[in-house]
């Protein structure tokens, strides 16, 4: 196989990798907020359900969760979900898994904001929503950014787990080429591409961190 052909295949896989990455972020970053508030809810049933959900998401392998979503509908309910189901299973699996992690990071950030900030806002007459959006949230973003960076970089690598669903993302492509060509090269190239991907992610996140460095508390 020519090198150019190999690159073409790997880059077509990268397109899926990027897609999984973006879909997961778009879904789980906001869903995490809901998870954080559910976990902190004073209404006990909601707090307990959320806690259980987080525990399962963090306590079982993502690969297993993806398989369960993929085959669960058929094995448990006898439903035939059609050929595109693997993409849905992949998106849902990644989103609900990462939302659990993000939710816990958000919660840590929200709870680290000193009581005095809420009290100052309350005395000045800010509404609950204003207090959260204007006073708490911007400070939370700054505090959780290092932890979020870790998760986001892990996500780039975790996208390779989609291979168990038969989605031809970059790792699946590398694996297929390596098997057919009896070559190590596709793995090496895929590895380099993952690293470059994450290098870009690092640059972006560092830039945001720097931007928020105009104050410390």
């Amino acid at each position: 196989m020519e090198f150019a052909t190999m690159m073409e295949l790997l880059l077509s896989g990268l397109a899926f990798t990027v897609q999984i990455f973006l879909v997961t972020l778009v879904g789980s970053l906001p869903l995490g907020v809901l998870v954080a508030f559910g976990r902190m809810s004073r209404f006990k049933p909601i707090a307990l359900v959320t806690r259980f959900y987080i525990s399962v998401m963090r306590g079982t392998p993502l690969m297993l969760q993806l398989m369960a979503l993929m085959f669960g509908p058929y094995y448990l309910l006898g439903l035939n979900m059609g050929g595109d189901w693997k993409y849905w299973a992949c998106s849902i699996g990644f989103i609900i898994n990462y939302a659990a992690y993000f939710g816990e990071i958000y919660r840590g950030g929200i709870q680290s904001i000193p009581r005095g900030q809420y009290e100052a806002a309350e005395v000045l007459g800010y509404s609950k929503l204003q207090t959260f959006m204007k006073i708490v949230l911007p400070q939370v973003v700054k505090r959780i950014l290092p932890a979020m960076s870790n998760e986001i970089i892990t996500l780039v690598k975790d996208t390779s787990l989609a291979f168990v669903l038969g989605i031809m993302e970059m790792f699946s492509q590398a694996k297929a080429i390596a098997a057919s060509q009896v070559s190590m090269l596709p793995y090496v190239i895929a590895g380099v591409i993952y690293w470059v991907f994450n290098f870009i992610v690092e640059i972006v996140l560092t830039r945001i961190e720097k931007k928020l460095n105009y104050y410390h508390d």
Binding site: G116, E122, G125, D217
Partner: protein, 258 residues
């Protein structure tokens, strides 16, 4: 509002934390232009009194009113029953609070700290708010710091920003919760001077403080609290120089030579 009506009226206030009474039948009345200093040992209930007045804590029993606006009323069983949301919101426009730890918003510039609430809570016109804020900052000796963030300022400057922030909302009465306790003695001076200037302008203030000479100089009325009760109160000079009560004398003796 008649001129005789006190700006702040607290009557028979009671408050417990987990069964431990912290305020036992406290009454406090503050007239327009009056400066009241609250002194006493730590754990005597001073801060709780302030927090109840500023609605950060709810009273168990008693009555609280800001001028003609009743915030909490006692029911037949002696429990404090609070007014509705609208009344509480209105009450919050009548007082300001300066915290011991400033509690400035660290991500906002000095100017935004001072202007954000007038703009987005009171929704006052921008030009007026900006002008007022700059004038207040200048008065606090903070001209030129508008675009800095709090962490770039000394503690004393931060506390003066906090005072400007509270004043920007044009409160009737300003509460201070040990405004200089978190500051080095060096930085305390400037904050006390600002409060003295406000007193000279007849700003109504209630100040919890450990600075006895300052309390005597700046306050019209001094309240000595210990064990959740007001042990003694009266004209500043009288309470500090000729305390009637043994506990007041013992407390003040510790500060002698200050």
């Amino acid at each position: 509002m008649t001129s005789e009506q006190p700006l702040v009226l607290l009557e028979h206030a009671r408050k417990s934390f987990g069964g431990t009474p912290v305020l036992k039948d406290i009454s406090l009345s503050v007239r327009r232009g009056e400066v009241v200093a609250v002194i006493g040992p730590s754990g005597g209930g001073k801060s709780t009194l302030l927090r109840c007045c500023t609605l950060l804590e709810t009273l168990d029993g008693g009555r609280l009113a800001y001028g003609d606006l009743v915030v909490a009323e006692e029911d037949a069983a002696g429990r404090a029953v609070y007014a509705g949301k609208a009344a509480l919101k209105e009450a919050k426009t009548r007082f300001g609070l300066v915290f011991q730890n400033f509690n400035l918003f660290p991500h906002y510039t000095v100017l935004k700290n001072v202007t954000d609430a007038p703009l987005h809570v009171q929704k006052r016109p921008k030009d007026e708010v900006m002008e007022h804020a700059r004038a207040l900052l200048a008065k606090m000796g903070l001209a030129g710091t508008e675009d800095k963030v709090p962490c770039e300022l000394s503690g004393g400057m931060q506390q003066r920003v906090a005072i400007a922030r509270a004043l920007a909302l044009d409160p009737d009465v300003l509460f201070f919760d040990e405004p200089t306790s978190a500051l080095d003695p060096e930085l305390t001076k400037d904050v006390l001077k600002v409060i003295r200037d406000l007193a000279a302008e007849h700003m109504t203030m209630v100040i919890v403080t450990h600075e006895m000479s300052f309390a005597r100089d700046v306050a019209d009325h001094i309240v000595f609290m210990d064990g959740g009760v007001i042990v003694e109160e009266g004209p500043a000079e009288q309470v500090i120089n000729r305390p009637q009560h043994q506990r007041t004398r013992a407390f003040l003796a510790k500060y002698e030579g200050e």
